[in-house]
């Protein structure tokens, strides 16, 4: 531990704008505590799960909003409740299964039981225990079960994805995404039924914000990721655009693949491999789908908790769960559509070799984030510089810009009051 990360000096933010971020923003536990409070525990929508993970009445899934564990459960009326996983009695994190089906939720400690909306149902010895003609114990006369339900989040289920927010006064989810982001969300989640393909989970020893930044950064993919630049999946000479919402907090990186190969953007790029060919090309067996309507890549960063990936035929949600300032858990949920042919499902699964903790592309990202965190820890008073494409903030029609990172920190500074 470096004592400087616990310094009480105010953060030195560059007066010029959000293009410079103090390293301490990523390592200071006090900053982290405020971030959890303002971004995850209040009026921001957070990703919870896909609807297809809990399709039937009683189906539940244990997951997290920020650093708080929650249970997403579907009731017999078809609605989803998201309930915080601690008993209203003595605080036990009573649900110890990752998924399952239940008719009620019961804490094993004193058998307090809740219905699937989190209302307290049963309290043993509520009216005491009769013994030798008298009644021993029992809860006080003014004890009301209705005062002791589980913490219940505000929930919206939108075209196959469940979101939750601790602050019930949060704006409607569609407004939260805004008119710039919504069409891109509805392009992937257009109401078609989804199929769950499976999970990948990794713990990345870096601050949670770095993963949002990584997917708001179109500068690195054509440089760090050999596969992207060599096979034309993402590179600086592509038809691209960078879109953000009015607050600068959410974004979409949109691009169309080209044929790859040599060009201006590969000059001096050591990761470009002119002679690289695959011995088995099925991993890159890309087949365009009608719903793409053009772009081959759309990467949505919904602040603060999730990334939604369309990389050619591979689809996933990537859920960010902070673990203190120095790490986050990154949960990948790959999915397809219920009407996919078996060939399309196989294609999505093959292309998944590019992504996740061992993927040809994504493994690099976790590694560089870990290296960033190490750099921040060794010199917390230093600052990052994200000035590709200038210092201003706004949507652009190319991918040679760090505008989306600046947009996020413009918003961050407003909410954090820094």
């Amino acid at each position: 531990m470096n004592d400087r990360t616990h310094s009480t000096a105010p953060l030195e933010w560059h007066p010029g704008g959000p293009s410079r971020v103090p390293y301490r923003t990523y390592v200071d536990p006090a900053v982290h505590a405020i971030e959890l409070e303002r971004f995850f525990n209040h009026d921001h929508w957070a990703y919870v799960c896909l609807s297809c993970e809990i399709p039937n009445a009683g189906d539940f899934k244990r997951t997290s909003v920020g650093e708080r564990q929650v249970i997403a459960v579907r009731d017999t009326d078809g609605t989803v409740s998201v309930l915080e996983n601690h008993c209203a009695h003595r605080g036990a994190q009573f649900c110890q299964k990752d998924h399952g089906n239940a008719t009620e939720l019961v804490c094993p400690y004193h058998q307090w039981s809740y219905d699937l909306k989190g209302n307290l149902q049963g309290v043993p010895f509520l009216r005491g225990v009769k013994s030798d003609g008298r009644i021993n114990g029992g809860m006080p006369g003014d004890f009301r079960k209705s005062d002791h339900g589980l913490t219940r989040l505000k929930v919206e289920e939108w075209n196959g994805v469940v979101f939750g927010a601790f602050d019930t006064s949060v704006e409607p989810l569609r407004d939260y995404l805004g008119p710039e982001i919504t069409p891109w969300y509805e392009r992937i989640f257009d109401g078609r039924a989804l199929t769950l393909l499976g999970y990948n989970r990794q713990r990345i020893p870096g601050n949670w914000k770095l993963m949002q930044e990584n997917i708001k950064d179109p500068y690195h993919p054509g440089l760090l990721h050999t596969w992207f630049v060599t096979f034309g999946l993402w590179r600086a000479d592509q038809k691209s655009s960078l879109v953000m919402d009015a607050h600068g907090r959410h974004a979409v990186m949109i691009s169309s693949k080209n044929e790859g190969g040599k060009g201006d953007v590969t000059q001096g790029v050591t990761s470009f491999k002119e002679n690289m060919t695959l011995k088995d090309t099925r991993v890159l067996d890309v087949v365009p789908e009608a719903w793409w309507k053009g772009p081959t890549v759309t990467m949505l960063t919904l602040f603060p908790s999730v990334i939604i990936q369309q990389q050619v035929n591979s689809l996933s949600t990537r859920h960010i769960v902070p673990v203190g300032p120095d790490a986050f858990d990154f949960h990948w949920t790959h999915f397809g559509y219920a009407d996919d042919s078996p060939e399309m499902t196989r294609r999505r699964l093959r292309q998944a070799n590019l992504f996740g903790p061992a993927g040809y592309v994504s493994a690099d990202d976790g590694e560089v984030i870990e290296m960033q965190q190490a750099g921040f820890r060794q010199h917390p008073d230093y600052q990052t510089v994200s000035e590709l494409g200038g210092r201003d903030i706004g949507s652009v029609d190319h991918n040679v810009s760090e505008t989306l990172i600046r947009g996020m920190y413009g918003y961050y500074r407003k909410v954090m009051g820094v």
């Binding site: 769950l196 990948n200 699964l349 903790p357 061992a358």
Partner: protein, 167 residues
């Protein structure tokens, strides 16, 4: 897992067992040595190789962390490991135990074994990296045993950042 005594061959050829154990010992030595170019040679041309979370495996979810369907895909992975995947280098050390031959049929030898992989990065403490069970099918090809299927089902709920080298 087919580990019940009923599925075991009544009399297991000790030479076959020795040969299978030798295959696993040579495999571990290869993937721990850093000579990844020799790794695909342990597989048949039409092999399958998977590294899959136990969670997906047991729930019948098809997604794997890595899923290759030919020796050629393994050769592409070796190129990825050695030429394209940026990563912090590390040593890995496999410990394979409880090698269990569960079935011997005309389509091959079904083998299961526990594995534990320890990762050691530069100037860092050694740490448990990945642990699980191999569920494999081994066949004889040109006189030697090779993997026709290798499925690494890992218990490790969270991958410590990334998996680069072969398990």
């Amino acid at each position: 897992m087919n580990a019940s005594a009923n599925n075991l061959p009544s009399r297991l050829d000790p030479f076959l067992r020795a040969e299978v154990e030798d295959l696993y010992a040579r495999y571990s030595a290869c993937v721990d040595s850093g000579h990844y170019e020799a790794w695909p040679g342990f597989f048949t041309e039409a092999c399958t190789y998977k590294v899959i979370p136990r969670e997906n495996h047991e729930r019948g979810l098809p997604l794997a962390t890595l899923a290759f369907e030919s020796r050629a895909m393994l050769e592409d992975r070796v190129y990825g490991i050695t030429q394209t995947l940026f990563h912090q280098p590390y040593y890995q050390r496999h410990s394979v135990s409880g090698i269990l031959i569960t079935e011997v049929t005309s389509s091959g030898i079904a083998v299961e074994a526990n594995y534990l992989v320890i990762r050691t990065r530069s100037k860092a403490l050694s740490e448990v990296f990945n642990t699980g069970r191999y569920i494999d099918r081994v066949v004889r090809e040109d006189g030697s045993l090779r993997f026709a299927e290798k499925c690494c089902v890992f218990d490790s709920e969270m991958i410590p950042n990334s998996i680069i080298y072969p398990i």
